[in-house]
């Protein structure tokens, strides 16, 4: 499918990409990280819906919310939108 004569790198046809971006840990970008007060959290999952980076997951086995700090950019939307103010942004 790709060219037989390659450069020193492998060339996909027309440079088409299929490798996942998840090797790029954009969590490094953040200055602030979200910290959750478990007492206040009602697990409404609004934070998970509003996270632009999908860095807030529902862990079925644990029955709880998880923050993936590898990809959280620290924007603070979760903290701003939490109806019970259970999340605060703290310096990393």
């Amino acid at each position: 499918m790709s060219s037989k004569d390659k450069g020193w790198k492998e060339v996909s046809p027309a440079g088409v990409c299929w490798k996942s971006s998840s090797t790029y840990l954009t969590g490094d970008w953040k200055t602030y990280k979200p910290v959750r007060d478990l007492e206040k959290c009602t697990k409404c999952l609004l934070c998970s819906i509003f996270c632009p980076d999908a860095a807030i997951h529902w862990n079925k086995e644990k029955g709880d919310i998880e923050f993936d700090l590898n990809f959280c950019k620290g924007c603070g939307i979760c903290a701003n939108e939490c109806p019970t103010k259970a999340i605060v942004m703290k310096i990393e």
Binding site: P13, A14, G15
Partner: protein, 391 residues
Amino acid sequence: MKSVVKQEFQGLNGDEAVALAAKQSDIDVVAAYPITPQTIIVEKFSEYVANGEVNTEFMCTESEHSAMAACLAASATGARTFTATSSQGIAYMHEMLHYTSSCRVPVIMAVANRTLGPPWNIWADDTDSLSQRDTGWIQLYCASNQEIIDSIIQCYKVCESDDVSLPAMVCMEGVNLSHSVMPAVLPGQEEVDSFLPPYEPVWTLDPDRPATMGNMAGPSETLETKEDLRIAMDKVRKKLSDVACEYSNHFGIPYAGGLVEPYRCEDAEVMIIAIGALASEAKVAVDQLRIHGKRIGLVRIRVFRPFPIGEIRELAKDAGAFVVFDRDVSFGMEGVVLSEVKAALFGMSPSPRVTGYVVGLAGVDVTNRQLADLVEKSLDQDLRQETISVE
């Protein structure tokens, strides 16, 4: 789709030849915009669609830029595509020509070469397509309506092959070929179907195998894809020649040539070089000059991209001199064909003498008599590098 046996036409104009060749090629999607003198192509094709003679999705786009965009995108889903344009239209789609070749999709396009305005001038001039020579498209220039039919079908085979996967434009002089009636033979449907395998793209837009085409890439990543394109274009030289031979055997049509068509070059001292219908006119000039004892030959360049560097250099070993006729010009320099010929010959020792003339620009009629006179004039003046614009 109706099966059509081989048909011999007493008279067919270039546009009709294009439409018929497209009809035989089992095309999935045609997206096109009309422009004189290509309009008959789109009109004829839409008749075939309306009559059920073809099983093609036919799209009347709102511009040429969109026509090329739609063809390229359709091709990316694995569809065989076709379009046609001219002059202002090919200029308008310039951005998309680069996009198509870098996407490595085998769109085939017919171009009726016409002057770029202003003023509005619908007559023959090759500047429109020659201006696109850097876009990574294969470029063929046809000298007869038969060659148009043959070239379109051959291009599908060349372009759809795995190691090429590049788009191609089949060019014909506007009005001179597009609207001139000549006899031609159209191969039968079954013959074409057995010559052209179904299109298997090298990459495709497929939800079962998601991939991203065209996101951001840094310099070294991008370089790899451009280099891959360059290598593929180089492979076209041999591929086109091979496919032309295969075509000739398969359809029983005389070999129309690979990259160049030499005429009476065996003992020529001076060779004319030209492309397209102008070269056909030059053929007659060659015969006239031969009658007067001048050892003149003609090299018709059929494939302009990739440029037949090897073939020109080989022919230069026998001839000491070339006279290049351009029906185009690159302002600030000279005729494009002249520049490219000189570049191909660079470094040869002894260096062949090359003279160029810009003739027939903007559709001005050029006769074989005029061409013969110019060649004789060059001989008298002891050929030197020169470009003269003539009526």
